[in-house]
């Protein structure tokens, strides 16, 4: 930290909050609130004379309230930069600190919060995690029994720089405990609170047990656990070492702690799962290993930075396996436990990866994106004519569309990932997607259904999943009906309802609407946009009394080649089961309705006109960027 602060190219802003983030990758504008310390950062030299004279003591949050601190103080003695800070809620304005500071004149009560805009190229979020408060679990008595402490309190009690100088004492009477119980999984792996495993508590339970055992070899140290999880290099060996040192491990989740009201000794009730019997053991002190939980202000940060959250409130990564350090917003990266509970080695690895990713942005003069971005035809957008719409902005998972009534919608090209959700949602065909324009897809539909359309199965596949599934079916030589005709779009969100109507208008025998499983979507919420549209289509076709199975919705991953083949074969079986005359009759019966519904699609600028638009736009974009 000291090295970072001294580095000429590192600017450390402490006691500063991010209020707003605007712009896009490489071109962020960030509003910072530099909170007032009431101490001038350019003058304070960290001598600490002010704290010596300050008469006000408040609980020291760094020592988990186990020790006092002054109303003017530093968070901890190793703080970087070493600049004092006045807690104005506690300060009584006696100005003794001003006197003590003397000639330096560093203390200034008139300093106010400062708001500054900064130009930022890339953002790394490393806001960490917080701890579960075990006082909401009455069975463990934390907060009522003085000798039940949390793991973080144990860290301070056990630390030679801590409030007791490393002397492990019982809060009730200040004596050294002779028997210590450590309880794992307090609030984690518990559906009542947090369903997840907190990842690193097994290891720090063992670490604390070993530290305590080294300092007090006679102490009886017992770890209560459900499962000990030591999955990384050297961890299992560490666990073995703890067993060799004589630390007891009892498999069984304690259901209750009771306290002897006179001695304040604690009785831990649990089943010893290995024995199958209930045991009640007496301890002098109990340490609770609380769950790791997201920071309490995670919602604020995620809305400021436009990062989605995974269930539970951890920041969502772009891809759990391939891009765990990227957030879904380009130019914003994730490091450490804010993205999910992880230990120090994993946090360091992710932090280094995030820094390298951020470096890629900072060192590039130009940023390449996929060319499949959305573009608005401003003369077609109804918002430009003053009408209320904004459907495109609602469909965009990346907040890439700026919508304001009275102005044509505007796509921030650098933010667009090219799912095409906005294109399919726009009721006026005022947006198109480069390389996946309505005209292009329409031409494909017409070509694929040119001959004997009633025998064909037109399959809309999303680029990332069901197209891969179809590919795998081919590579693996899974046989499926040769009447299938595949059509690729980037995401099921791009599968415009009008395409389906048009396919049926042309007399398609069957249509498959396929994409990723919801959790696999490459475009955050693209699949959801596509899925809700598919629901509407299914209902509409049911009302029209179309034979069930002619329109089918399936979510197929790239690994499910067998499923793709099975679905196509099942659709073929449906087609085979309908007598030819009956099918032709149904197609003819539905054609006027399909024609009416697909009318808007045929109004879109056709190939020549569309190309003209594209050329115009390209020219405009190149002009703008240059």
């Amino acid at each position: 930290m000291v090295d970072a602060a001294r580095h000429p190219k590192v600017d450390v802003r402490t006691y500063t909050e991010v209020e707003r983030v605007e712009g896009y990758v490489g071109n962020f504008k960030v509003l910072l609130r530099e909170k007032s310390r009431y101490v001038r950062t350019d003058r304070c030299n960290g001598c600490g004379e002010c704290a010596k004279v300050c008469p006000i003591e408040v609980p020291n949050y760094f020592e988990l309230n186990l020790a006092p601190r002054k109303a003017i103080d530093v968070a901890m003695s190793q703080s970087v930069p070493l600049i004092y800070n006045i807690d104005l809620d506690a300060c009584i304005h006696c100005y003794k600190c001003v006197e003590a500071c003397g000639k330096l004149e560093a203390i200034d009560f008139s300093i106010e919060d400062k708001l500054v805009w900064e130009d930022i190229g890339a953002i790394v979020v490393a806001t960490g995690f917080s701890h579960f408060d075990p006082s909401v679990m009455p069975e463990y008595g934390y907060g009522r029994y003085p000798n039940v402490i949390t793991a973080m309190e144990m860290e301070r009690l056990n630390n030679s720089a801590g409030p007791t100088a490393g002397n492990l004492i019982r809060p009730s009477d200040g004596t050294n405990p002779k028997r210590l119980a450590i309880i794992n999984c307090v609030g984690s792996r518990d559906k009542r609170f947090n369903p997840w495993c907190s990842n690193f508590c097994c290891m720090y339970a063992i670490k604390n047990a070993i530290l305590v055992k080294q300092a007090y070899p006679d102490m009886d140290v017992t770890i209560y656990y459900m499962d000990i999880r030591t999955p990384s290099k050297g961890y299992e060996e560490f666990y073995d070492r703890a067993r060799e040192m004589g630390i007891h491990f009892i498999q069984g989740r304690p259901s209750l702690i009771t306290e002897d009201p006179e001695t304040h000794n604690l009785f831990v009730h649990s089943e010893d799962v290995a024995l199958g019997h209930v045991i009640e053991r007496e301890y002098d002190m109990v340490m609770l290993n609380q769950a790791a939980v997201p920071q309490p202000d995670v919602d604020t940060v995620s809305s400021v930075l436009n990062i989605t959250q995974s269930p539970g409130g951890w920041f969502m990564e772009y891809h759990p396996k391939l891009r765990p350090m990227d957030s879904p917003t380009d130019g914003v990266f994730l490091a450490g436990a804010c993205q999910g509970q992880k230990d120090i080695p994993a946090s360091v690895a992710q932090g280094s990866a995030a820094a390298a990713r951020a470096g890629r942005v900072l060192h590039a003069d130009e940023w390449e994106i996929e060319p499949v971005v959305a573009v608005v035809w401003e003369d077609r957008c109804v918002s430009a004519k003053g009408k209320k719409c904004g459907l495109c902005a609602k469909a965009c998972p990346y907040n890439a569309i700026e919508y304001e009534q009275g102005k044509a919608a505007h796509v921030v090209t650098a933010k667009c990932h090219g799912c095409g959700g906005c294109v399919a949602e726009c009721p006026h065909n005022a947006i198109t997607q480069m390389h996946f324009t309505d005209a292009q897809i329409l031409a494909q539909i017409h070509a694929l259904l040119a001959e004997k359309p009633e025998e064909k199965i037109l399959a809309f596949r999303c680029h990332w999943c069901s197209y891969g599934g179809a590919d795998l079916a081919g590579v693996s030589h899974f046989e499926y009906s040769s009447n299938e005709r595949g059509l690729r779009v980037m995401c099921s969100a791009r599968m415009d309802a009008d395409f389906i109507y048009e396919a049926f208008r042309l007399g398609a025998g069957a249509v498959l609407y396929s994409g990723c499983h919801p959790q696999d979507c490459h475009y955050i919420t693209g699949q959801r946009v596509g899925a809700s549209r598919a629901e509407r289509l299914l209902k509409a076709f049911e009302k029209m009394e179309m034979t069930p199975g002619r329109f089918r919705v399936e979510w197929i991953s790239a690994a499910e080649g067998d499923k793709y083949a099975r679905v196509i074969n099942e659709m073929q079986a449906v087609l085979d089961s309908i007598p030819k005359e009956k099918l032709m009759e149904e197609i003819e019966r539905l054609r006027p309705e399909m024609e009416r519904r697909a009318r808007r699609l045929r109004e879109v600028p056709q190939v020549e006109e569309a190309l003209g638009y594209s050329r115009q736009l390209e020219a405009a974009m190149v002009g703008k960027e240059a």
Binding site: D227, P261, H269, E271
Partner: protein, 317 residues
């Protein structure tokens, strides 16, 4: 699509309450939250019963004491980290066991049909819907009497206390047996005499139980299965026979081993005290204390406070 034969677990899951048993990861919270293993049956273990179901051990599960001893107090349900309704699962297993012809091995209540008037109070009092009224031929005449389903009865004795005719009894806690224990020999003058009714489940720690036994003869301890078994007449009888005070110990609200026994008894004692008030008989001589799972050592404070109060009361008289 699933052509697998129906397993034992499927059968249990199909009964309402029997769902989610596959979620159990054997942490043992339910076993140590429950007092049955500690107090009654060392083989009692809900975690292992759930395992038996998952491993298709049908006969073993039906014979397991866990199937029959669970009283559905639901102390374990809010503690289970996997939110399995364990008593619901055990209830489902019990239902299958009864269907398979197994019978409850528990000591249950019996109805003396010559005394029963068919009033139906026991039907209302029972937390387990065990008694019901039937038409039966008794001594040559058709009569309406109460009949107890032995597979449902948990033996709490709430109905024994509720029956106005003394027609219901349970071995060990019949009215005669309790009355016999109340009538204690007079001690030397001046020492207050106290009768303590203790429910079998409210004292979790063994030291608390042994502490109660260690009091001298002037503190008489009577064990009852549930504080709901207490009959206000017993308190009156005790006071009439020269005993100075009556202390009833039950579980904390929501922790009763027999669902609502502690609620029933708190109502009874409250009404009794209100009656004393109306009759201007000194109050505070009959008390009800509700001891929670974490109230270790509280019984000592309660008994000592009661003895102190009674000594002062005697002095004043």
């Amino acid at each position: 699509m699933n052509h697998q034969p129906e397993t034992f677990a499927d059968q249990v899951r199909a009964i309402p309450g029997g769902e989610h048993l596959e979620m159990c990861y054997s942490c043992g919270t339910c076993v140590s939250k429950c007092l049955i293993q500690q107090k009654v049956e060392p083989e009692y273990n809900p975690r292992r019963l759930l395992r038996m179901v998952m491993m298709d051990m049908r006969e073993e599960a039906f014979q397991s004491p866990t199937t029959w001893l669970c009283s559905a107090c639901d102390l374990c349900y809010p503690a289970c980290p996997q939110q399995i309704h364990i008593s619901g699962v055990i209830g489902a297993i019990k239902q299958l066991a009864i269907e398979a012809g197994y019978e409850s091995p528990l000591e249950t209540v019996t109805v003396d049909e010559s005394l029963c008037s068919g009033c139906g109070i026991c039907v209302l009092a029972c937390p387990y819907e065990a008694p019901h009224l039937v038409e039966k031929e008794i001594a040559g005449e058709m009569d309406r009497v109460s009949e107890v389903d032995a597979n449902k009865c948990m033996g709490c004795g709430i109905c024994v206390a509720a029956c106005p005719l003394g027609a219901i009894a349970r071995k060990g806690v019949s009215n005669e047996e309790i009355v016999r224990q109340i009538k204690v020999k007079r001690q030397k003058k001046g020492v207050p005499r106290l009768v303590t009714f203790v429910c079998d489940w409210c004292l979790r720690a063994d030291d608390d139980v042994s502490l109660l036994e260690s009091y001298p003869d002037n503190v008489r301890v009577i064990h009852i299965p549930c504080s709901g078994r207490i009959d206000p007449q017993m308190a009156l009888l005790a006071l009439r026979s020269g005993i100075d005070g009556v202390l009833v110990c039950g579980c904390a609200p929501g922790e009763c081993h027999y669902k609502r026994g502690t609620y029933v008894s708190s109502c009874k004692i409250t009404l009794l005290n209100r009656m004393f008030e109306q009759m201007s008989i000194g109050d505070g001589r009959v008390r009800f204390v509700q001891i929670g799972t974490q109230d270790r050592g509280r019984i000592r404070r309660e008994v000592d406070a009661m003895l102190e109060y009674l000594a002062a009361w005697k002095e004043a008289r």
